[in-house]
Each structure stands twice: as C-alpha cells, then as structure tokens.
Symmetry: C2
Subunit: 198 residues, 2 copies
DNA sequence: CCAAAAACTGCGCGCCACGCAAATATTCGC
DNA sequence: GCGAATATTTGCGTGGCGCGCAGTTTTTGG
C-alpha cells in the first residue's frame, strides 16, 4: 500500500466516492450524472468507469469501505478480550465520528430512503457480515462451514441496522452511537452463549 | 385478486420473470437483452419497463415472490404451534418442490454466482426478513421497535442462506431441504429463548 | 535513464430507462 | 348490455450509460 501507484488509486476511488455522495445529497440522486461525479473528482468519465460500474456503487463506496473496515477492526482486537466487547468496539468505530456531522446524517438518510441504492447498500452490509463472520470464526476457533459465526454476524448486522433505523425515526437528538451500543448489549443478552466464547 | 385485470397483470409479471430466468440460464446473463425477455413473454419492450426497471429485477422476480410468500406463510400457521416449528415450515416450503428440478438448481447457481444479481437478490432476501420479522412480532406479541423479532428473522435468513451455500458446495446429491432443515434446527439450539416463545 | 507494466483518456457503439401521447382493454354504474 | 371512466399496452424519441479498443501518459524496477 506504500507505492505511489496504490495510494493514488485509492485516493481517486475515495475522491469519487465522496464527490458522488456530496452531489447526490445536495442535488438529489436523479440530478447527478456520472459525468458530474467524474468532473468533481478531476477525472475523465471513462476513468470513472474503471472504478465503478454505475452511480450507485460510487455513492455507496464509502459505506462499503467502512463496513469492510469493521471486519478488519475485529481481527485486530486483543484476542483475550471478551468476544462481545470486541464486537461492540469494532462496530461502534463505524459510528464514532460521524454522528453530529450533518453530511453524514444526510448520507444515512439518503441511503435508506432511495430504493435505487438499497441493493448496493445491502451488498456493503453483507460484505461486513462476511468479514465479521470470518473474524469471529477465527476467534472462536470454529471450523469451516460452521453455522454459529455466520448467524452471529448476521444478528450483529441486523441489530445495528435496526438501531440506526430507530435513531433516524427519533430525529437525531441522541447520538447514533448510543442506539447502536444499546442494541448490541440487548443482542448480547438475547444470545446467551452456553460455553462462553471469549 | 379475482379481477381479470389483476390476474392478467400478475400473469405477465410471472411470464416475464420466468422468461428472464430461463434465458439467463441457457444463454448466460450477458447474452440476454431486455428485448429478448419481452419477446419471450409476448409483450413489447416498453411494457417490460412498466414491470421491471432492469434485467436483474426480472430475473430475481421469482425469488422475490417466493421470499415474500415465506413471510405470508408464517402468518397463516396455527397460532398455537410452537414458533420454531412454524418458522421451519414457512421457510421450508420455499425449497419444497424445487430441488431435483435442474432448472431450479441452475437458477440458484446463477443467482449466487453472478455479482450483477447480488444486489437484487439481497433485496429479495431482505424483503423476506421484513415479512418474517413482522409475522414473528405478531406471534410473540412484541411491541413496535422491538429488537428480538428483527434479530430472529435475520438469523433465520442467515442460516437458510448458509445451508443453501453448503448444499451448493456439496454438489447436490442430498436435497436442499435437508440442509435447510438441519441449519434451522441447529439455529434453534443456538437461540435458546429464556421465556419460551410459543 | 530505460524498458515494462499499469493507469488514464477519447472515441464509438449498442443497450437501456423513461416521459409522452395515442391506442387498446377492462371495469363499473346504470 | 352500453357507454363513460379508468388502466394498461405500445411506439417513438431522447438523454444517459457501460464498456471494448487503442493511443497516450505515468509509475515502477533495475
């Protein structure tokens, strides 16, 4: 990742993602052309298509990256930490800085409100589920094909999305962070692990 | 649903969905034009777009319908039946007849193999999750905004998809049915409900 | 500093989503 | 049944998109 090539590539991807989200928020999804996004990121339309196959991928790129990072974060928690605590930390970093930032809030609102984005957004969430499941499997020493890590990851994802939904409905005076933490704690009590996974 | 109008509309939608899936299987996703699907269903290309916004929606239409039906099925189980049994029945009907049918198998393979279809397929699965969650909430008497039904539905979905994945890997000598039933039973033991939900 | 590898770009083509308005089919009150 | 009201289908036209191709520019490794 230290090569100039890779850094530039990543920067372009990120610039496109940010530009796409910004434009979609301020103009509305339908009034953004691929051409606009490319221009805003200082790149030719043709190059845009080397990074993303369509508008929606670009808009969700940030969400995708963040989601994947949650999985990586879990892998890097100290292995002696209780699993639930590790999961809570890994998921919560996703929502750490974002909450008061009005652009972040608008982004969440956009992604949940626009049906055209749902498919892409779900792909991002599922990517996180997979990362989480793998990381959990490593931690619990599960063998390949085991059901438990998969279910656990899915439950975490569902609880998280549910929390965000509740937070959105509530109007946003309390930070998301609190909602998500709450949901994860409640989830923990719903999934009592007989042989306590550490 | 008894009006001629509604029946025709439903028939067209189904014809388009079937045609789309068939063509995609026998030619490969990239070699199917919207025009072809419309023609195969005996409808103008313009009409196609009154039903579906793109190729992928049409291809996944059957999956979507089946997924939603699972939710409805749960609502119609006898309320005195144990909840887990109701869930198992409702989910299993999705996989009842399909398994030996080579076209059904090819469809599952296509949907899981082609990345372009993932977003749409995930939307179908999530629709089922919502239906299941609602039905479960009714059954357990949960109040609006409760986490438990949502998590339960997500877990059921994850277990189901996991089972199908395992079955695909195994090559298909044992029917899917068995895999899914297995996974759901295992899931049941993973989610011991303290105050036993009936 | 140079050759190999990779990324960016312009061009062009076929496909697609959708608004609009005319034609056709279905429903419903009478 | 009949005719008006309401839905659906369809053709046409347009703007936008996805991507293969081939030429140029940039980065890399030696």
């Amino acid at each position: 990742m230290t090569g100039l090539r890779e850094r530039k590539k990543f920067a372009t991807r990120q610039a496109l993602g940010i530009a796409a989200m910004r434009l979609a928020i301020e103009r509305g999804l339908e009034n953004v052309l691929v051409e606009d996004i490319a221009a805003a990121a200082g790149v030719s339309p043709r190059t845009y298509n080397n990074y993303f196959a369509n508008k929606y991928e670009a808009i969700c790129a940030l969400a995708t990256d963040r989601a994947v990072r949650a999985g990586l974060a879990l892998r890097e928690r100290p292995p002696d930490e209780p699993l639930w605590e590790s999961i809570r930390h890994s998921v919560l970093v996703e929502y750490e800085g974002g909450d008061p930032d009005p652009e972040w809030v608008a982004g969440v609102r956009l992604v949940t409100a626009a049906p055209e984005l749902h498919g892409e957004y779900l792909k991002a969430r599922r990517a996180m589920e997979h990362e989480l499941a793998d990381a959990i499997a490593v931690r619990t020493g599960a063998s390949a094909g085991d059901l438990e890590p998969v279910v656990l990851a899915a439950a975490v994802n569902a609880a998280t999305e549910h929390a965000v939904g509740q937070w959105l409905e509530a109007g946003g005076s309390v930070p998301v962070h609190a909602y998500v933490q709450n949901a994860l704690c409640e989830l923990e009590s719903l999934l009592p692990v007989e042989r306590p996974i550490r």
